[in-house]
């Protein structure tokens, strides 16, 4: 069980995460929703300690995560994998090596400086890639893949960490709808088949409803909704998103559906 207790993060006066208390049962798939700037990314980065809290605690099975330092902190990051909106792969390395980076925490100085991974690890990486339908790209440079493929490579890398928790910060925000669906399905399969807890920041409500057991709604750093997806009413959704509600609520909020709004703009210039 992962528990956030009154977790707070301030940036020069701005409380990006403001006294958040939440508990996550192992094996849950949780969608974190909220308008831009609500503090979703900040919260996820606090959980795997890419960023340090300014207040409150994070506890996982008796381990005080918020107090970890040095090796223990790195071991925690290995247990708690993270994937990013921009994938954050090393573009110049091949796909297989990118996936193998998930094993770094288990390596000493010499083997990692030389980039030596064992055949067992390579097999593990290939299996993970195969699982995500990417085994044939193993020797390709990571930056030659499409966005959706890169995100799946990032998931394979996360799987090599053999994590208990998978954090995903807007994993589909840079993807087209079809790739977004593939990635979300991969996340859900991992959650169901391997029992890994998935904490996923999502921009849109419908994605969260479609894939998550539980939804946490954030607004201005605070949790304003926490419950099963079905229990989220329109009124509550409106409260989470505030003025951005219409944007987030409407189905298929993609860049293409924004196009008409842009096209309307020239109408301001009167045809003479």
């Amino acid at each position: 069980m992962l528990t956030l207790d009154n977790l707070t993060k301030s940036f020069q006066g701005v409380r990006a995460v403001d006294g958040v208390s939440l508990s996550f049962e192992p094996g849950q798939m949780v969608g974190v929703i909220g308008a831009s700037g609500a503090g979703k990314s900040t919260m996820l980065r606090l959980v795997n300690r890419l960023s340090d809290p300014t207040g409150g605690r994070i506890v996982c099975q008796g381990l005080e995560v918020s107090a970890l330092r040095g090796r223990a902190l790195m071991a925690w990051r290995a247990r708690c994998a993270m994937i990013f909106q921009q994938f954050n792969l090393v573009g110049r390395l091949d796909v297989l090596t990118n996936v193998l980076l998930g094993r770094l925490n288990k390596h000493g100085f010499a083997t990692s400086m030389l980039g030596r991974f064992s055949d067992a690890e390579r097999t593990m990486a290939l299996e993970a890639l195969d699982h995500l339908g990417l085994a044939q790209t193993a020797l390709q440079r990571a930056d030659t893949l499409s966005g959706g493929q890169q995100q799946r490579v990032a998931i394979a890398k996360a799987l090599l960490q053999e994590p208990e928790i998978l954090l995903a910060d807007e994993p589909i925000a840079s993807l087209d709808p079809r790739n977004a669906q593939t990635v979300m399905e991969a996340l859900r399969r991992i959650n169901r088949e391997q029992g890994i807890t998935v904490l996923c920041n999502l921009h849109t409500l419908d994605t969260a409803r479609a894939y998550c057991d539980r939804i946490v709604g954030m607004r201005q750093g605070r949790v304003v909704f926490d419950g099963p997806a079905a229990a989220l009413s329109d009124r509550q959704a409106r409260e989470i998103y505030g003025v951005a509600f219409d944007e987030a609520f409407h189905e298929a909020m993609t860049s293409t559906s924004l196009a008409p709004a842009v096209e309307r703009a020239p109408a301001l210039a009167p045809a003479a």
């Binding site: 990013f84 994938f87 390395l93 990692s112 440079r141």
Partner: protein, 286 residues
């Protein structure tokens, strides 16, 4: 609206009366240009007087140049030339440039990381590294060579040390700047797996900067082949020594042969390094 040039000619006085400032500005520009020309001419005349440059010396020199040039182009007694000495000198110069650049490039990698703001956040540790770069590269390779010839004696070792020293400074500075320009996202992606700081640099940063490191080192090897030639003249041996010896005794044909050899060598290295650069920058590395 439009008028012909002839019509414009008759309209000049009227235009001048209506827009005096336009015509005054043109006149001012013309006067300023004339003054600049005068100053330049005076400066050139003064220089000629200062350095005792007289037409007789210039044309006398040209005459001698023509003689030298003719002697350069007519290669005599080629069978008696000391080819072994010449090619050994060339090999020595190449070895000097290669070894000096290689060691400098290797030393510059850790120093470059230490001197990069995004890697070494401690200003007190970064500052001495940066100043060391400035010191090493601020002194020309030739000066380092003179110093090392004193310290370790005549010969290629002094040349290697000279190249190594000054290039550690320049490459270190360039490498540090390359490291400061890396994309942070891959590094964060590596850190998030539970990697330590060294692993993060090795896998998140190094693949991004390695092609830059390599291509800069290759470029320096190429330019060091040229400077190693000059180092030979001040006592570091190699082809430079062979060349200066022949110029001293006015064997212009052999001097020309050596110059052609140097040009060819530099051209070949240029070609090879371009090929290697293309290959490495294009290919996946680990």
């Amino acid at each position: 609206m439009s008028m012909t040039l002839a019509a414009a000619g008759t309209a000049v006085p009227a235009a001048r009366e209506r827009h005096p400032e336009v015509f005054a500005a043109a006149a001012r520009r013309k006067r300023r240009f004339q003054i600049a020309l005068l100053v330049l001419a005076a400066y050139l005349a003064w220089s000629c007087w200062l350095f005792e440059i007289t037409p007789a010396r210039v044309f006398g020199g040209l005459d001698k140049m023509a003689v030298v040039l003719r002697q350069m182009l007519v290669w005599k007694d080629m069978a008696s030339w000391d080819y072994a000495g010449i090619f050994e000198g060339l090999a020595q110069t190449l070895a000097m440039a290669f070894l000096g650049t290689l060691v400098a490039a290797l030393v510059a990698v850790p120093l470059g990381f230490l001197g990069a703001r995004n890697v070494n956040g401690v200003k007190l540790l970064r500052w001495p590294v940066r100043r060391l770069f400035d010191l090493l590269r601020g002194i020309d390779t030739l000066v380092w060579a003179l110093v090392f010839v004193r310290a370790v004696g005549l010969g290629p070792l002094a040349g290697v040390l000279a190249i190594m020293t000054s290039d550690t400074g320049t490459l270190g500075k360039l490498y540090a700047e390359a490291v400061e320009n890396v994309d942070r996202k891959p590094m964060e992606g590596v850190r998030a797996t539970g990697a330590n700081a060294f692993q993060e640099l090795r896998f998140g940063a190094l693949p991004q900067v390695l092609p830059v490191f390599l291509s800069q080192a290759l470029y320096f090897f190429e330019s060091n082949t040229r400077s190693a030639t000059v180092l030979g003249v001040v006592g570091a041996g190699g082809i430079g020594l062979q060349l200066s010896d022949r110029i001293r005794v006015q064997y212009w044909d052999q001097a020309c042969f050596i110059i052609v050899l140097i040009l060819l060598t530099v051209a070949i290295i240029d070609l090879l390094s371009r090929k290697i650069r293309e290959r490495f920058i294009g290919a996946p590395g680990t």
